[in-house]
Amino acid sequence: MSPRFKYLLLFFFLPLFLYFSMYTWNWKTGYLDRLAAMVGLDVAGWVMAPGRWLQNNVDEFWSRYVYLVGVRQENEDLTQRVREMELELARVSEKAKSADRLTSLLRFSPEANWEMRGGRVIGQRLGPNAILETLLIDLGSAHGVRANDPVISPRGVVGRIAKPGMHFSSVLLLSDSTSRIPVITSDGRVPAIVQGQGPGAFLEVKFIPRNDPVAPGEILISSGQGGVFPKGIPVARVVEVTPADVSLFQKVYAEPLLALRYYEELLVLSRTDGYDPGQPMASADAVQPAANSTAGQVAPATASAKAAEKSTNATAKSTNATADTPDEPAVNASKPAASGAEPSKPARHPVRKRS
């Protein structure tokens, strides 16, 4: 063996071999991912929390005691709004009471119990190149937060927990291109999948058949399928509907109901019944999203495709199988084209930007 070859072996192939061994081992076990999430998120959280606290207080001081332009007008508007809301509340509570009665009459199974925790946004664009649309919040596994827990605001869905650390977690936003949420339209009750398309772009609403009714202005609410989001949370508003020419589905775009990056406090929902949407259930693994060994980690499309294939096969036996984890495509038995569930790839059509 020539000395040159020895050096090549020693300084290039050996490190390369060691690197890929580490990578593969971690891909299978997820140990290093969990260690990095515990350390990295906590270090970043503790480092950024005081600065964010200071910034919030300065902002609050400025807006409360210094910048008072328009406060009187706003006060009058809000008073008027409160009166309107009181009337609306009275009307809706009557409806809610009747809904409770009807539900018990129809013997619907009770909604899964959800626990709600308030969290504060600590960071917004962290990580190498901020590849995915994420936020850093000050709730972690020490507070009971788990991967895939829904994150909402009073106005609607914000995203889900992508990576829980010990005291801080990373939230994958609804607008990220790897995010998919099963929804139904509020008026027509048409099931669909909402997929993000990146910052500043409209959300794409997929798999709405060409003859199903959907109109601009309609609110999309979470359908609860897949088990990640509870049913009935507002997700987005339809802004554009283009009838299909040759496709089986309409081209529909929507916008989030809130400015996702301008929220300082968010709510994290956690199940209290112990059900983990990231893990298959022994009896119902055919209709639940497949297991993800690196929960919260964005899995490759190959894994998604396998999971989707598994779910799709299951639809032959079961009624409806949808996945609303960011790494697993949704499959709806009632939609023929959805059976070829799409992997986590960027949309091929031009991204529609919000004005």
Partner: protein, 166 residues
């Protein structure tokens, strides 16, 4: 200019633990404000230039865990990036003196291109449906961030830092 020996006492200098803790805060806020550009690496480069190998060791481990932890890709991207950075640093040291400003300019450019290659490669390899920025504007911005932060940090560290073993 040679590195200060470990443990030496220089009055008026900031102790290294305080210095690097402050640097971490500054770098993470820089990353937050700039939308994900890397500000942690210049600290490592300053330690490489000044020959603080012990600091290079623990800082690499911590920076890798922080970058991988707050990032969204599978573990390994930061490891590959820093491994390449060390290799490039050793190779470039043969050609130019690390103290030379030209070295900082050229090495920052190489590092920015390397960062883009590693990130876009990882996105493609892990088949994540995220769009990578177009290369040259991104590389130019990262280059600017490296040059300014590295140069500024080197000057500041020589003037106020470098006190004691870490």
């Amino acid at each position: 200019m040679s590195a200060a020996p470990y443990g030496s006492r220089r009055p008026g200098r900031i102790p290294d633990p305080v210095w690097w803790a402050g640097y971490l805060v500054l770098a993470l806020w820089g990353q937050e404000i700039s939308g994900g550009f890397d500000f942690l690496t210049p600290g490592l480069l300053v330690c490489l230039q000044t020959g603080r190998w012990w600091t290079v060791g623990w800082m690499t481990v911590l920076w890798v865990l922080v970058q991988e932890g707050i990032g969204n890709l599978a573990f390994g991207v930061a490891v590959l990036f820093y491994a390449g950075m060390f290799a490039f640093f050793m190779l470039t040291k043969w050609l130019l003196e690390p103290e030379n400003p030209l070295f900082i300019l050229l090495f920052s450019l190489v590092l920015s291109v390397w960062a883009w290659v590693v990130l876009s490669g990882a996105i493609s390899f892990q088949e994540i449906g995220a769009r990578m920025h177009s290369p040259w504007p991104w590389v130019a911005k990262q280059w600017l961030a490296y040059v300014l932060f590295w140069g500024g940090m080197l000057v500041a560290y020589r003037r106020w830092g470098g006190h004691g073993r870490v």
